[in-house]
């Protein structure tokens, strides 16, 4: 019961030329910029959270290659079902930064203008896997040439919905790509205590389809393997599970302290495998990146983020939206409850 392992760009930025995807300069720069943007977006979110300006937040620090590499393998028409740590995918898929901040500052109104085929964040672990399988299944029934990509963590592989989703996908051969961000910890629980399976990817074999492990900090590998899985899915080859072997450099969310459950030495080891640094050296070796470009880009991204934060912090959701979107048509009891709240609000204002 073994699965393949794919790595193209190693931790020292040596590239396996036999596997190296043929990407033009613009594409590589886009990969790099989006990874850096994701990291800076996360960093800003953490700072805002520490100042009480953001909700509990799960940073994707260290997992940027997994998110961005897989996202750029997708087509705009492919479905994207996130868990809650896929900021990099959302950014790559063109969801405005201001909307992402609005959501994590505490308003569903962020989703008012969600671009098509990007589903909402799923907080309950693994539940979104079934939705992705259903959407892929619908595409297959409608003979649409699209696939559905779903993200989840190592912890999700213990949930019932993971198994039901994988099983349905196998039985009905749905065009689904399962992307497991194995970042080694489910909050405090290490991967070894999550399952006795040698790999997570091998679970796919039990459901009758391919599972593959990939170096999740190697954007070239993540991109290549996702691209292949998506092409297979769209051409009727059924689902694939990709286990992206990566590491969560920060805490699970702003609410936990990772020093309680892992050693600093382990984190230091993973720092050497940083996905962004790895790509930067690769780009520098190719002669398409240097410090002056880096400085210009950083300045530009900083401004972009500052602008998004201002926009998000200025956003005030309408109270009616609490009631307006529960049903297509507001039932009588909700109208009454909305009126009750409005009266209470205007009384408070009058005080």
């Amino acid at each position: 019961m073994s699965v393949d392992w794919l790595s193209i760009l190693d931790a020292q930025s040596n590239v396996d030329e036999s596997l190296e995807p043929k990407l033009d300069k613009g594409t590589l720069e886009k990969f790099y910029r989006t990874m850096v943007l994701t990291r800076m977006f996360d960093d800003k979110a953490l700072k805002l959270q520490r100042q009480g300006r953001m909700l509990t937040y799960g940073s994707s620090l260290g997992q940027e290659a997994t998110a961005v590499g897989s996202a750029f393998a997708m087509k705009p028409d492919d479905w994207f079902f996130p868990a809650f740590r896929e900021h990099g995918v959302q950014i790559a898929r063109g969801i405005p930064l201001s909307l992402l901040y609005i959501y994590w500052m505490g308003s569903e109104d962020a989703n008012l203008t969600l671009p098509p085929k990007n589903f909402t964040v799923a907080i309950p672990v693994a539940t979104q896997m079934l939705h992705a399988v259903g959407a892929a299944w619908a595409a297959k029934l409608k003979k649409q040439n699209i696939a559905s990509v779903v993200y989840f963590g190592d912890g999700a592989t213990s949930e019932g919905d993971f198994h039901e989703g994988m099983n349905f996908a196998g039985v009905f051969k749905t065009p689904t790509v399962f992307i497991c961000q194995n970042n080694q910890y489910a909050i405090s629980l290490p991967r070894e205590k999550q399952t006795a399976s040698k790999t997570l990817a091998q679970k796919a074999l039990a459901y009758g389809f391919e599972g593959i492990q990939v170096d999740g900090n190697d954007i070239l590998a993540v991109y290549s393997v996702t691209l292949a899985a998506l092409e297979k899915a769209r051409s009727g080859g059924g689902p694939t599970m990709i286990e992206c072997f990566t590491y969560r450099m920060g805490p699970h969310t702003t609410s936990d302290d990772p020093t309680k459950y892992r050693l600093a030495a382990e984190v230091e080891e993973w720092k050497k495998k940083d996905p962004i640094k790895r790509l930067r050296i690769y780009l520098e070796k190719k002669g398409i990146w240097d410090q002056s470009r880096e400085d210009a880009m950083t300045k530009e991204i900083t401004e972009q983020i500052e602008k998004a934060v201002i926009e998000a912090e200025n956003y005030k959701p309408a109270v009616e939206n609490m009631f307006k979107y529960v049903y297509a048509e507001m039932p009588q009891h909700l109208k009454e409850q909305m009126d009750e709240l409005q009266v209470s609000i205007s009384k408070k204002k009058g005080e």
Partner: protein
Amino acid sequence: MSLAKLNMVQAINLALHEEMEHDPTVLVMGEDVGVDGGVFRVTEGLLSKFGSDRVIDTPLAESGIVGTAIGMAVSDLKPVAEIQFEGFSYMTIDQLAAHASRIRYRSRGTYHCPLVIRAPYGGGVKALEHHSEAVATFFIHIPGLKVVIPSSPYDAKGLLISSIRDPDPVFFFEPKKLYRAFKEEVPEGEYTVPLGVGKKLTEGEDLTLIAWGAMVRVCQEAMEQVKDLSVELIDLRTLSPLDDKIIIDSVKKTGRVVIVHEEPRTLGPGAEIIARINEKAFLSLEAPVKRVTGFDVPVPLPKLEDHYLPDAAKVADAIREVAAF
């Protein structure tokens, strides 16, 4: 429009046939719904007519059925998913409460979830454990989810068509005790019964009797025993959202109320109905509202089941007690 005498199974089956013909995005999925035609034969004949892309025998996984149906529903299909027995509906609660019911809300209308879950429910058929329960309360408590329970073949067809056409998720409970209990005239062709609207089955002056599903028949039997009283029988038909108006208008007229349900008493639908009466018609009440319900115990196996369920005698006693208060 021709009429045929149909039982509830046949009426639901007819509704499914007609809606699948009417709308190519409607599909049926669940355990044994295809080749077998459903364990109660509700989906019989659909597979041969519409094929396996639209009548899908799924693996045995209730969360999987509902979760994948959600993915289909947000992709503009209209899945009608069957849960084989109500006792296995608990596994659907996560997907319904965490997702189906709040997709419109969370996405602020970008996505919605036109999904119907059908399940037989209720006792009185001498079944195994987990096959005789009334579980509507769990689902009524989920904002964004509608809960519908028919009490007759005619309403079953019209309510199911409305449920399928509704843009929001609906849990459609079918009283299995009434599946083949009686036949009535059910028109062929399109008609709908609106969701969220109860029905007054008899006009009365002395007392309001509120029920739904299989308990409507029990109430009708009970009324035979209290013919000296003028009882207004209301079939709520939809438990979420509740038709406040039909309840409150009737209470204002009669001032006396008995509520009958199979669900256990504590936090059963009757509790919410009483609260609304208190809020909106308290001064019209001539007597405390009385509930005849299942007890707060697991539904017993068949040897004691009849003691658990409300029956005509219990309901008639309650009517007399409230009328005499």
